[in-house]
Amino acid sequence: MALLQISEPGESSAPHQHRNSVGIDLGTTNSLVATVRSGKVVCLPDEQGRCLLPSIVHFESACALVGYQAQALQSSDPLNTVASVKRLMGRGQEDVIQLGKVLPYEFVVSEGSNVPRIRTRCGDLSAVEISSEILRALAQRAGQSIGGDLDGVVITVPAYFDDAQRQATRDAATLAGLNLFRLLNEPTAAAVAYGLDQDTDGLIAVYDLGGGTFDISVLRLNKGVFEVLATGGDSSLGGDDMDHLLGEWIITTAGFSDIDAILARKILIAARTAKEQLTIHDVAVIMIDHEQQWGHEIHRKEFEELIQPLVKKTLLACRRALRDAGVGKDEIDEVIMVGGSTRVPLVLSMVGEYFERKPMCEHDPDKVVAVGAAIQADILAGNKPDSGMLLLDVLPLSLGIETMGGLSEKIINRNIAIPVTRAQEFTTFKDGQTAMSIHVVQGERELISDCRSLARFELRGFPPMTAGAARIRVTYQVDADGLMSVSAEELTSGVAADIVVKPSYGLTDAEIESMLRASMEHAREDIVLRMLKEQQVEASRVIEAIDAALAQDGENLLSESEIAQIRERRDALEAVIETASADELKRLIKAIEEASEFYVARRMNASLKQALTGKKIDEVDV
């Protein structure tokens, strides 16, 4: 970026034109749009003066209704009214079938596509398309308010969003006809909203407790540079869980049994109302009309006892993030609160107690993310050429590729600064192998089946070489949006394949979190399993090599009893390959190798002899 623009003679030296930009918080429950107007950030309201837009889309035969209008039609026409579509972003068929049990929509499994669709009267629609309706509604609101076309937008995503979910969000922006400047992590956006107001330098923690997810990020601020040091979370945690806990309390206290869907809904609504009342009052009255009316008082203390373990769990995630960032909690200068659930007094007090300082909550926790996004959008648009603000983010989940035995070989570890490029070399497994399939996964666990599959791609056309001779370099690049591309090349021949990863699935925050947590819990099991898998792979390789050799020249070079002797060991290994321990396999492999040493020597002599009797060297099998 040219800080000093020197205009050439004849070139126009028009002053910088203001470019229209907005920040969009595309939320699960509500979405917002904000912009910078004469140096101040404003959330743009609808005609009724409401800033929040419920993230609900209703499909009429001719058009889509978004927001409050759609919300009003939710109960009368549930199949054509889609809420919480963010949970479906970047998700595959299997995930959606899982969610289909919870969500009322009719999901369509279309052939030849990995993207599940919801059947509406406007056709079968993907999450990307539905999200794009929300973006379109917000862009339209912004266009009217600003009075012109938008030059670019910044859209926020949870820090924990994986590649597929980010890609889906970007696709939704494209579909809505928006020029996406950047995908911005929500906690970073919140930090920007606070950071520029306060002009703070130092370490800050962003505690983001929403309806269904929890995010924690640790950032370092230094002269306008926002550097994310670590990010983490626990997305099975959120305000909804508090409602459920209180709901269970109501069921027990009232002694309800035979709870049908209608009563369950009433209980949940009553619980949510009580939770909200307890934010301001010490006592709330819960009333439920069911057969006969049931009413009960609940004190804030009782409610706090219920949710205390839940808040404690968020603090565990905070501790993990601090450890990942390599900072002590006493080094944290500010704690920023984001998300509607941080209004709960116990959350505020426990977070304050843990970090030993009063959390900052001057900004409306529902708006702060959109505000930060608007500030970045304004800077990226070039409206503030003197701004030194820069956001440096990290990769939320490790990237790896599948290796033999269903294991993940990590290439880029989580919490590495992005953009980032990493390369790793692999080799071939079999003689004459000319193709290779690369399976890209995201997650912390050692086994592929415990990570999230992102994509598979094939490298073809290597010249055939002996096993282990090919040098295949796989290069991963993660850009500033957290989006990955992969390229691969066989170095000795220069055969290259270049593939942009297309999402085949997406991950829920919950899955990511449970993967992360499970990886910590299972770290030891994983190591044992990894060693076993490695030995099993090695055993298969040895058996294959022996079979191939015996078929080729066993009868020429070995006596019958020698063949029988090698076969016996080979069979002994094969018999226990699935059942033996890693150590046992290792021992058996070694036994075979020792027993066939003489055979290997004879083979080498034989091929040498062959070479010396006038054959060309490249005709000799090695």
Binding site: M1, N222, V225, R319, G382, L390, I416, T421, D479, A480
Partner: protein, 179 residues
């Protein structure tokens, strides 16, 4: 866009002397200055070529930073640019004394889990590990300055092992801590 010289070493890129004990404040300040110059956010409105190049440069700078800020990676990199061949992680050491130390430390960390007052025990091990890491780093510097790259490599590998044990201990502490 004025691209940096990709043939320079990471130390040169960050304006640091090619030694083990680096000026950390300088490293951090330079990282921010370099990212402020090359980060893709600075090229949002540039043409596609400049956008691509900026991702490449910013990645390279991040990679350099990642290596320089980590003592083990820094020591290996120092050896590498001084012509040493770095064996891969899986190769083993024949230093039996050090092998014994490895085994003992691993067992000691594992034993913490079930022993009495495990957190206190962890803390004691932690202090020892920090001292050991410092000692090995000093050893590395001595060998490196004497141009005994083989000995320096051995120190670097020992540092790497101590770092792994530190990570293992940190995971354990995380499991054990109760608040």
């Amino acid at each position: 866009m004025q691209a940096p010289d990709f043939s320079q070493t990471y130390f040169e890129l960050f304006g640091l002397s090619p030694v083990f004990d680096i000026d950390r404040a300088r490293l951090q300040a330079e990282q921010q200055r370099l990212q402020a110059t090359y980060h893709p956010d600075r090229y949002v409105n540039a043409d596609d070529r400049d956008k691509r190049v900026s991702v490449q440069i910013a990645s390279w700078v991040n990679q350099a930073y990642e290596i320089l800020q980590d003592p083990v990676k820094r020591s290996r990199y120092l050896l590498e640019i001084n012509g040493a061949t770095i064996p891969d992680d899986s190769s083993t050491t024949s230093d039996t004394e050090f092998l014994m130390e490895q085994i003992e430390l691993r067992e000691e960390v594992e034993a913490c889990r079930h022993g009495e007052d495990p957190l206190r025990k962890c803390e004691q091990i932690e202090i020892r590990l920090v001292q050991r890491a410092d000692q090995l780093a000093a050893e590395f510097v001595t060998h490196f300055e004497a141009r005994d790259l083989d000995a320096a490599l051995l120190s670097s590998r020992k540092m790497q092992f101590i770092q792994r044990i530190q990570q293992q201990l940190s995971e354990l502490q995380f499991d054990l801590e109760d608040f």
